[in-house]
């Protein structure tokens, strides 16, 4: 009976199963933390398996759940969830990363780990809900709901500066989303609905100036989440202070919600404004790429370095999208997954290192490779994927994005693509420079150094976490179509209005 219910209400199940599980875990007594962790892991694994099995069976039809929910102030709000090409893999990424992260950080949290697990599962609910929501109000609800568990993860299990970081995280993201809410309400008031399609129709009737302002309000919220330069400064703090599981999921999924928001809502609702602002967005994205990379180079803390690398990588995603080409956007779609896998894995690895050494300062290390060869192997693979070595996932995404940008319609595409390509170089510089300082060389034998504490290489559990990631890295690098075929058509439809030869393209897509 349950299985039939799941069959018919798969999306609802996916969204709320983690929440229910999390609430159950909350009720467990404190002493039962290992039990809670196990339950959380198994439960989220179950969610992943169910999502995977169902999604693979998805075939031609897509999952939709659409019910009228309520009417607030004359405007109906629908409980409208749908799985389509744009969110398919992001949803799977979320359900995949959640159990993986729980397993990977099994031993990281000493105190109140049951509570952390519960919060983590609630976070999953928020993310899945935001990814699946088709109604903007519903999306907004989940969007904000994601904040709370993340806030607590940072604030309760964070590092030294957790208070500042968590507050900054909260206020920064809220600042964007609240202004966005105003725009949303304005548009909803005009169109009498929260359905993006209706909003898009209404937006067309508004004056160009107002469209632009509304788009900017949407863009601000999403750009902060991405985070796009110059709205990125919350990220390094949040990442650095967050516990490993928080960092992983923050990099893995949360940031994607920003770019996903652009794709899902901002672009289709405001095609005109998008065209108008594509160039500034692309410029900011390029600045983010270079800036993030340069600043990452100056970091002394490995985690902070990875955090800034996120800024750079997400800049690529933004650039691909802002190119308004199919290739670029598909590259952005893929790069979202890449970044989720690679940077998530990097944070996991840094966490494993921190668990052993209790420091993340590059200068405290040196010669890690002599102590932990297996760890070094995984770290190198992930690093290479992160710097976009061909045959790993990073390359394909960046390659598409750069090609898309190069062929984009607005004037500076070529120059921007060439400058952005510098980011590929700089990525190698900061990552490998860090690797050189931390991993190679003679082992740092100073008693207080981090290396001295690295007495154990990765254990079976940690290897089990890393293996699927490595498999994914190569799979995505070798056969990206697995991950992008489904979004090809939606992206083509999305980009159709922006193509110089829009009508002809549309016909082709239809065929």
């Amino acid at each position: 009976m349950i299985s039939t219910w799941i069959n018919t209400h798969l999306l609802t199940f996916l969204v709320f199963a983690p929440l229910v599980l999390g609430l159950i875990l909350l009720c467990l007594p404190q002493k039962q933390a290992p039990m809670a962790k196990l339950l959380g892991f198994l439960g989220s694994l179950g969610v992943f398996v169910i999502s995977l099995v169902h999604f693979l069976r998805m075939g031609g039809h897509s999952y939709v759940e659409n019910l009228p929910w309520m009417t607030l102030v004359n405007i109906p709000v629908d409980y409208h969830l749908a799985l389509d090409g744009l969110n398919f893999w992001l949803v799977l990424l979320t359900t995949f990363l959640t159990p993986l992260t729980l397993l990977g950080t099994w031993a990281s949290l000493k105190e109140r780990s049951g509570l952390a697990t519960a919060l983590f599962l609630m976070l999953e609910t928020g993310m899945l809900g935001a990814l699946l929501a088709q109604d903007l109000f519903l999306f907004y609800l989940f969007w904000e709901a994601m904040l709370l568990p993340m806030y607590f993860l940072i604030a309760l299990w964070g590092g030294e500066e957790r208070r500042y970081a968590s507050l900054k995280f909260m206020l920064y993201t809220l600042a964007g989303s609240l202004l966005w809410l105003v725009a949303l309400l304005y548009l909803a008031g005009k169109s009498g609905s929260f359905a993006p399609a209706l909003m898009a129709q209404t937006a067309l009737t508004l004056s160009t100036g107002i469209q632009g302002i509304l788009f900017l309000a949407f863009a601000l919220a999403f750009a902060i989440k991405v985070p796009l330069f110059p709205f990125h400064t919350w990220l390094p703090d949040a990442h650095t202070e967050a516990p490993t599981m928080g960092s992983v999921i923050l990099a893995g999924v949360l940031l994607k919600l920003g770019t996903y928001g652009f794709l899902r809502f901002a672009l289709p609702i405001f095609p005109g404004a998008t065209l108008h602002y594509a160039k500034p967005m692309a410029i900011l994205a390029v600045i983010a790429i270079i800036y993030g990379a340069l600043v990452a180079m100056a970091q002394k803390d490995i985690k902070k370095l990875v955090a800034y690398s996120s800024v750079s990588h997400m800049g690529f995603v933004m650039l691909g999208m802002a190119s308004l080409t199919i290739i670029g956007t598909q590259g952005a779609m893929l790069q979202m997954l890449n970044h989720g896998v690679s940077t998530g894995a990097l944070f996991l690895l840094v966490g494993m290192l921190y668990d052993r050494a209790h420091t993340r300062m590059i200068s405290d290390f040196g010669g890690i490779a002599t102590r932990m060869p297996v760890f070094t192997f995984f770290f190198m693979v992930v690093t290479l994927s992160s710097i976009g070595l061909p045959l790993t996932n990073g390359f394909v995404g960046e390659f598409w994005i750069l090609n898309g940008t190069y062929t984009s319609a607005f004037g500076w595409g070529r120059a921007l693509a060439c400058i952005a390509a510098l980011g590929v170089l700089l990525g190698a510089v900061y990552m490998l420079w860090m690797v050189k300082r931390a991993f190679w060389g003679a082992a740092n034998t100073d008693e207080h150094s981090g290396t001295a504490h690295l007495t154990q290489d990765l254990n079976g559990r940690e290897i089990a976490v890393m293996v699927p990631i490595v498999v994914l890295i190569f799979w995505m690098g070798l056969h990206p179509q697995t991950f992008t075929a489904i979004s090809e058509r939606p992206v083509a439809e999305l980009m159709a209005p922006f193509q110089p030869d829009a009508p002809a393209k549309m016909a082709e897509v239809a065929r």
Binding site: T325, I327, T370, L391, F399, L425, L432, Q481
Partner: protein
């Protein structure tokens, strides 16, 4: 058939995976067998494919398995292509690769990370084959970056040291600068032609009307050439190659002499029809090559480390090849790649043999008199030296003279540069030989224990030596009455059926030029040999006579320092600046914390009105009422 062609790159990959994952459990012998075996097998399959491709009507054998990445109008197939160029190069890679694998078994036997070494080496072969055989630019790029990675890993093989990882990093990053060029070049080509498959690209170029798109072609080819500069160690991106000698010596032989560094030349040849349409690029290429050839050769004159000498020699020889390309002599350039692969690999392996005999002593000034102790090494290296200096009849002679002649056709100054570089080459090679094998042993203790290497090491030496002598006859230039067979063989690849290479019509004083250069080369060789045969004293006195020049040469023209101060330090400083000023002060300070502080300050200010005195409260109310009244009566 198609499956077996796929085995060519996959076998080494397979070997790398097995050795990499299970290496420690397998034991040295199994590792050696697998490591060498897969490459040998690959060589065998390559040979078969080579023959098959040769017999195919259009000299091409293509196999495509699946679409690698496809979106929008971008579609990149994953496929291999065997045409004369790629199959010949693949033969070199697998053939010399196999020899060097074999050699490595002996050379690395004592090393802790024996398995790791072979995993890297096999992986390298895989990537090199991808580069060579790939049917599309992205696949070429896979190999391109992949060999860079392997080079990084192998240079940093002794990762517990300080210098090796640094050298590896330098190599990787310098290469990445070049890779950037390739990436941009690919983007430009894709934007213009809508395809990245090499065959389609070249076909479309053939249909290109000369007026259209030459600008784009120049840009794209220039960018691609930046990549070639990185990989083939041309000025100014050569800096990594000498440092790369930090890796094990067989690695230097295989990667940094015979195969990987020639990838740049290979790539230009691969896209020869494109480059031919970009005259600006060609002249840039020619001059860069010439400058590199001479520049590196002069540095090579004073180096004391045996491998450094060979490294600069490699750079210089690569400069030759590039110069040939720039002169339009794609086949000639590639011919030199081919011959160079033999004798330079041999030189390195010989040097490795010497180094091993001297217990990892690399300083030339501490060697000497090893002729008797290492006979096989000595004789094979002697042959290689003759080959590299262009002694008539040896392989280097034919390929080098073809290049010099083409350079002369392009611009006489280039010829002068080339000859000067050749003279330097002769000089430092004979200096090397004299210091190593002649004279008195300058380190008696090491000399005592020196002995000839095991057969796994000497066998490759001998094979390579034979090659160094004979392969030149594959391309005897027409000036010497030959047919330039290799040029004709490569013709289908280089012209891709549309355009004719400018080679072949030899006019002017070819023989005369060859004589001049040969005589000069021999003279300088003799000079070098005589100067150092009896020891280092003469050289030291000479160095003392030109202290500034000597210092400049010894410090490699201070290029590394210049780059450090001119580029790296500013970039790092910029990073710190952006962080501390951009993030901390501007964005966080002004954008985030300032509003927060202002809000707090505003709150503090407003709280001042909360005086605690009820009269004030009433006054506030009255003033508020007045304000509202004012609004009402306004």
């Amino acid at each position: 058939m198609h499956m077996t062609t796929w085995l060519i790159p996959l076998l080494p990959l397979f070997g790398a995976a097995i050795i990499g994952l299970l290496g420690r459990k397998l034991g040295r012998i199994a590792v050696s067998v697998i490591g060498v075996g897969v490459v040998l097998l690959a060589f065998a399959f390559t040979l078969r494919a080579f023959v098959l491709a040769g017999s195919a009507p259009d000299h091409r054998l293509a196999s495509c398995s699946f679409t690698w990445m496809s979106t929008g109008n971008l579609s990149v197939p994953m496929g291999l292509v065997f045409d004369p160029l790629s199959s010949l190069m693949a033969l070199v890679v697998t053939g010399i690769g196999a020899l060097i694998h074999l050699y490595s078994v002996g050379y690395m036997w004592e090393e802790e990370g024996f398995a790791r070494y072979f995993a890297y080496l096999n992986l390298f072969i895989f990537f090199m084959l991808c580069l060579v055989l790939g049917n599309s630019l992205p696949l070429l790029f896979v190999g391109w970056e992949g060999v860079g990675l392997c080079s990084y890993l192998l240079i940093g093989y002794y990762f517990e040291t300080d210098y090796a990882p640094a050298a590896g990093l330098k190599a990787f990053l310098t290469n990445r600068v070049g890779d950037l060029g390739v990436l941009i070049g690919m983007m430009a080509l894709f934007a213009h032609f809508g395809t990245l498959t090499i065959a389609e690209l070249l076909t479309k170029v053939g249909h290109l009307s000369p007026e259209v798109g030459f600008g784009i072609l120049s840009f794209a080819t220039l960018m691609l050439f930046v990549g070639a500069c990185g990989k083939s160690a041309q000025v100014p991106l050569y800096i990594w190659l000498p440092d790369a000698m930090a890796g094990p010596t067989p690695v230097s032989a295989l990667i940094h002499a015979a195969t990987m560094v020639t990838a740049g030349i290979f790539m230009v040849c691969r896209l020869a029809p494109l480059f031919q349409l970009a005259p600006i690029t060609l002249s840039v290429i020619a001059w860069v090559g010439g400058i590199t050839a001479l520049f590196a050769a002069t540095i090579g004159l004073v180096q004391r480390d045996i491998k450094k000498v060979l490294a600069y020699s490699t750079v210089s020889q690569l400069g030759y090849m590039v110069m040939a390309l720039g002169a339009g002599g794609f086949a000639a350039g590639f011919f030199h790649v081919f011959t160079h692969a033999w004798f330079k690999a041999l030189l390195f392996l010989g040097a490795g043999s010497v180094i091993m005999a001297m217990h990892h002593e690399q300083d030339l000034f501490r060697m000497g008199g090893l002729r008797a102790k290492l006979p096989i090494t000595f004789w094979t290296m002697l042959l290689a030296t003759l080959a590299i200096m262009g002694f008539p009849g040896f392989s280097g002679f034919f390929s080098k003279d073809e290049i010099l002649y083409l350079a002369y056709l392009r611009h006489p100054a280039l010829w002068v540069i080339g000859v000067a570089a050749a003279c330097c080459t002769s000089f430092y090679m004979w200096r090397l030989m004299a210091l190593t094998f002649w004279g008195e042993p300058r380190d008696p203790h090491a000399y005592e224990h020196a002995h000839e290497s095991p057969w796994t090491m000497t066998l490759p030496l001998v094979i390579l030596a034979v090659g160094s002598v004979v392969v030149g006859y594959l391309g005897v230039p027409e000036a010497f009455g030959g047919h330039f067979a290799i040029g004709r063989f490569l013709e289908p690849s280089l012209s891709f059926g549309q355009l004719h290479a400018h080679e072949g019509h030899h006019e002017g004083p070819a023989i005369l030029l060859a004589c001049i250069s040969t005589v000069l080369g021999l003279g300088f060789g003799l000079f070098g040999f005589l100067s150092y045969r009896s020891g280092t004293a003469l050289a030291e006195s000479r160095a003392a006579r030109f202290p500034t020049l000597h210092r400049i040469l010894l410090n490699k023209y201070y290029v590394d320092e210049g780059i450090e101060r001119g580029i790296l330090a500013p970039v790092r400083g910029l990073g710190r600046l952006l962080w501390q000023v951009g993030d901390v002060i501007i964005v966080d300070g002004i954008g985030v914390n300032l509003p927060a502080a202002l809000a707090r300050l505003g709150g503090e200010f407003l709280a001042l009105f909360q005086t605690g005195r009820v009269r004030n409260y009433t006054l506030g109310m009255v003033l508020g009422a007045l304000a509202i009244l004012w609004i009402f009566f306004k």
